[in-house]
């Protein structure tokens, strides 16, 4: 089109409209929050502007006649192994705007996905496999500090447990919904996560945006998060959930804070976060009261005091270079669990450079942390939760075999409600009604439907996990934890094998 700036022409997507099938019903016009489709009064038909398309596929998904196809724009720059198109486009954009390039969701960059290089074992002849449809299969998982040994006392009614066991999160399946704050995603999805977690007997995490009192009724399945901005943190909040989590870092953006723009702070977000209406909510990069493991210990116990030691208190960190040593310190500081968020973890907004270049993959971090805690003899003092890039039930099984007690899923939960990873969460215009508080978009997530979809996902994964466990001859998820003998690797270097603690396939 004439009169468009040059940079705008190097757009990523192209709308292909089948004119024979298009009935001009304008569903696409109404659904696109980026204004790609419009009804042209002169031409009397729906037209589109490719340069505005972000590739969310909402129109394609709702088109009643299947008349739309969203494709990557075929136009290529001259092939260049070093100057790949994304870098060229970044530079064009920054030359025009002078700004940091923002993005959303998890990193799409091509670093190894170790899940794909790990393979599971199965029973043959010498040890029988188990059919989970016929025999008991235990997925129940407890998150919290476990005693090193158990003591019993004799009573007239028989032996009784004498060891006092600390508070635990009891999960019917080793999967939880990861921290996604109210504000970054909207209230409808918080209702959905809360309902799904309750129905499934698992937990969801509030994220750092506080918890609206209307959701307190789901508290038994809620982990309330305390982050550097301390949004919405008060006595009732700390006592509303079944667990408390201190968020130190996030896999998608280790080392930096967060910024929820004022436009997203509507009345309900303001009330919940306890920040003024319309003002930016800034999460500082560090907690300003934590500069050492000792400081963290103070906060952990402050929160335990505040919640009268009724609930476990965990700490979430991003997977960074010294993650094993850091995790060890966290466990020694009294955390009941450590959540490790790998570099593929999602975000509502992060500078693309940070998302794609900072942190390490969860597989390596998890293996390193589990090994370090075992080596130090403190593995039982805390549970380990793996997060950031768990894509399927096999990833869950592999994570548990690498040493995790449970996993967090965030991106997968959003995919379950329609997310297509267009990565424009930071714009607040999410056409799928997820990362937006615009009432006309947020209502695209019907809590009834979203809760059902999320619950379905976890149910499906749980069935698959049971099948995989049974195939390995295991009848309890407990027997899989840290059981790296159930894993073999393909195509990895000796260094990678050593870190993962896994033997090569065939070995």
């Amino acid at each position: 089109m004439a009169f468009t700036p040059i940079g705008k022409k190097y757009h990523d997507f192209q709308v292909v409209r089948d004119k024979d099938a298009c009935i001009n019903c304008q569903v696409c016009v109404r659904q696109c929050s980026y204004g790609v489709h419009t009804f042209d009064e002169n031409r009397k038909c729906v037209v589109h502007d490719n340069s505005k398309c972000i590739g969310c596929h909402r129109c394609e998904a709702l088109c009643p006649t299947d008349a739309l196809l969203i494709q990557e724009k075929a136009s290529d720059f001259k092939a260049n192994a070093c100057w790949r198109p994304e870098f060229i486009k970044y530079i064009y954009k920054q030359a025009e705007t002078g700004g940091v390039l923002l993005t959303g969701m998890g990193s799409p960059v091509n670093i190894p996905v170790y899940w794909d290089r790990l393979l599971l074992d199965a029973s043959q002849v010498t040890n029988p496999s188990i059919d989970p449809l016929r025999e008991p299969m235990e997925l129940t998982t407890f998150i919290g500090a476990k005693p090193d040994a158990l003591a019993f006392e004799q009573t007239p009614d028989g032996p009784k447990l004498a060891t006092k066991i600390g508070p635990q999160l009891r999960l019917k399946s080793p999967i939880m919904f990861s921290a996604m704050s109210f504000g970054s995603i909207n209230f409808n999805l918080h209702i959905a996560m809360a309902r799904a977690a309750t129905e499934l007997g698992i937990f969801y995490n509030t994220g750092e945006g506080g918890l609206h009192p209307s959701l307190y009724k789901y508290g038994a399945n809620t982990i309330v998060q305390v982050a550097s901005g301390r949004f919405g943190v008060h006595r009732d909040y700390l006592n509303a959930g079944g667990g408390i989590e201190i968020k130190v870092g996030q896999g998608a953006k280790p080392g930096i804070g967060g910024h929820l723009p004022g436009e997203k702070i509507n009345a309900k977000v303001s009330e919940t976060r306890m920040v003024p209406l319309g003002s930016d909510a800034i999460s500082p990069a560090p907690h300003h009261d934590i500069y050492s493991i000792e400081d963290l210990l103070q906060l952990i116990f402050a929160l335990k005091e505040a919640s009268q030691y009724r609930v476990p208190v965990g700490v979430k960190i991003a997977a960074v270079h010294n993650v094993a040593a850091i995790a060890s310190g966290i466990v020694r500081a009294g955390a009941d669990y450590v959540a490790i968020d790998g570099m593929r973890g999602g975000t509502g907004a992060a500078p693309g450079m940070i998302r794609d270049n900072v942190g390490i993959p969860i597989e390596l971090a998890l293996a390193a942390v589990d090994q370090r805690l075992r080596d130090e003899g403190i593995r039982g003092q805390a549970s380990v939760i793996a997060a950031g890039g768990i894509r399927c039930s096999a990833d869950v099984v592999k994570a548990i075999a690498l040493g995790a007690d449970a996993v967090y899923i965030g991106t997968a939960a959003l995919l379950a409600v329609g997310c297509t990873l267009c990565a424009r969460c930071y714009t607040g215009k999410c056409p799928w009604g997820i990362a937006t508080n615009d009432p006309s978009l947020a209502k695209r997530q019907n809590p009834d439907k979203a809760a059902k979809q999320m619950a379905n996902l976890i149910r499906a994964w749980s069935h698959e996990i049971e099948e995989m466990l049974g195939g390995m001859g295991l009848n309890s998820i407990e027997s899989l934890r840290g059981n790296r003998d159930k894993l073999r690797a393909v195509g990895l270097s000796q260094t990678e094998l050593d870190i993962l603690g896994v033997r090569h396939a065939g070995a």
Binding site: N186, F187, N188, I191, S214, K268, N437, A442, K443, D448
Partner: protein, 428 residues
């Protein structure tokens, strides 16, 4: 329980449907002096115009009376009612005992004192028989004068015109449709009729029907105009047919006075339809509002109450929908408020180009009346605002005036109660 219903208009039909909601077994007898089961009375203009055949007049299918176990006595007239003995006596001397009686005798065409009125060639237009007689006459005659420019008169005029008869309409008031419409709306309708070729004379009355050898020659108007005519249709309104009730000692004002249960003064006696003077939704006290939906609703509520389901009739709401040669019009509620009453606010918008007219009457912060011509698609929504009496702020009023009423303007809880009971769960 024995039910007796006098009349077979739509009130009678409503009563049958109302009774059968709760009482499936009680004997229902309907006595009617007409030769056919309940028919769509307003359809007689469609019949006369040749738009529909006789086969489409019936308001319910043939099986209706049998299915509802109703004994239908057609061509029979009730001559007297004994409210003490709870019996009615027909003209043929048959005595019909009842436990509950519904008087739904409707209205009779009003005939003003006028010279030359008696004799052949003068017609009314309220029944199937009238329509048939007029249809027969229309084949023979060339010119007709319709006295009365109300709904019935105009529809009679239009129907005759469609049969090739030259028609003049004489209306005493300054405009046609004076009850339901105002000057502007009346003028638009007059203009439409004039364009088609009907002659409309307002502000005059018919003084005398001139005859020669008994045969009509024409009508002399009060201003001296003489309109040639072969037949005259008198359509200046109906009066409640209360004679029977009055003779039986039932309290009658302009119509048979009934309460919110449609019960008349005497035990076991109910009245509904054009004969009843019943509570009104918008005004204090009881009124005779001889319109179709009221008749059905009154009959329906009378039926419910007769069968022992003590249901309160919410009151009638005047409304008329009528089309003239493709010009659709609706009129609902109080459309001609007293000019000097400061509580009322009237807004009207004429769009001559589009041929539309919209008039809204507000009483304080409520909508109480609405007239639409041409663009009537929002009529029901306006009726909703009148019926549910929503208080309106300035913005809401303006939306209504602008022709953009919306259900999304309804109060939240009222919306949910009506559209999504138990409905909306916690959301953004």
């Amino acid at each position: 329980m024995k039910y007796l219903i006098i009349g077979n208009g739509v009130a009678s039909l409503g009563a049958i449907e109302g009774i059968r909601l709760t009482d499936q077994d009680g004997a229902i007898t309907v006595v009617s002096d007409e030769p056919v089961p309940t028919y769509g009375r307003p359809l007689i203009s469609y019949l006369l115009a040749g738009k529909i055949g006789k086969d489409r007049l019936a308001l319910r299918d043939e099986a209706f009376y049998a299915a509802n176990k109703v004994e239908l006595k057609l061509n029979a007239k009730v001559a007297a009612i004994d409210v003490k003995a709870r019996t009615a006596t027909t003209g043929a001397g048959e005595i019909l005992p009842y436990d509950r009686l519904l008087i739904a005798t409707g209205g009779v065409p009003f005939r003003p004192p006028m010279a030359g009125l008696e004799g052949e060639g003068v017609y009314s237009f309220t029944t199937f028989a009238h329509a048939e007689a007029l249809a027969e006459a229309a084949a023979e005659v060339k010119k007709a004068v319709v006295v009365g420019g109300g709904l019935i008169g105009l529809k009679a005029a239009e129907s005759l015109f469609d049969r090739g008869v030259a028609v003049s309409i004489v209306e005493l008031a300054p405009r046609v449709l004076s009850a339901a419409f105002d000057d502007k709306a009346g003028a638009i309708v007059s203009e439409r009729l004039g364009k088609i070729g009907l002659k409309v004379f307002c502000n005059v009355s018919a003084k005398e029907i001139r005859r020669e050898n008994g045969k009509i020659k024409g009508v002399l108007l009060s201003d001296g105009t003489f309109l040639e005519a072969d037949i005259v249709v008198v359509a200046i309104g109906v009066v409640p047919a209360c004679a029977l009730a009055k003779d039986a000692g039932v309290t009658v004002d302009r119509g048979i006075l009934v309460d919110e249960h449609l019960a008349a003064s005497e035990a076991g006696v109910y009245a509904a339809g054009d004969v009843a003077q019943a509570p009104d939704m918008l005004t204090e006290g009881a009124r005779v509002v001889p319109i179709w939906p009221n008749a059905y609703n009154q009959g329906y509520y009378a039926g419910k109450n007769m069968a022992g389901d003590a249901a309160s009739y919410r009151g009638g709401l005047a409304m008329n929908a009528i089309s003239f040669y493709g010009l659709a019009t609706t009129s609902v509620g109080l459309v001609n408020p007293p000019a000097d009453d400061p509580r009322f606010e009237v807004c009207d918008i004429v769009n001559a180009e589009a041929g539309t007219y919209r008039k809204l009457v507000f009483q304080d912060d409520r909508l109480v009346g609405c007239v639409l011509l041409g663009d009537i698609d929002g009529a029901g929504l306006y009726t909703g605002f009148i019926r549910f009496k929503f208080p309106l702020d300035a913005e809401a009023k303006q939306k209504l005036i602008d022709g953009a009423p919306s259900i999304l303007m309804w109060p939240e809880n009222f919306f949910d109660a009506n559209w999504n009971p138990v409905g909306a769960k916690e959301t953004v």
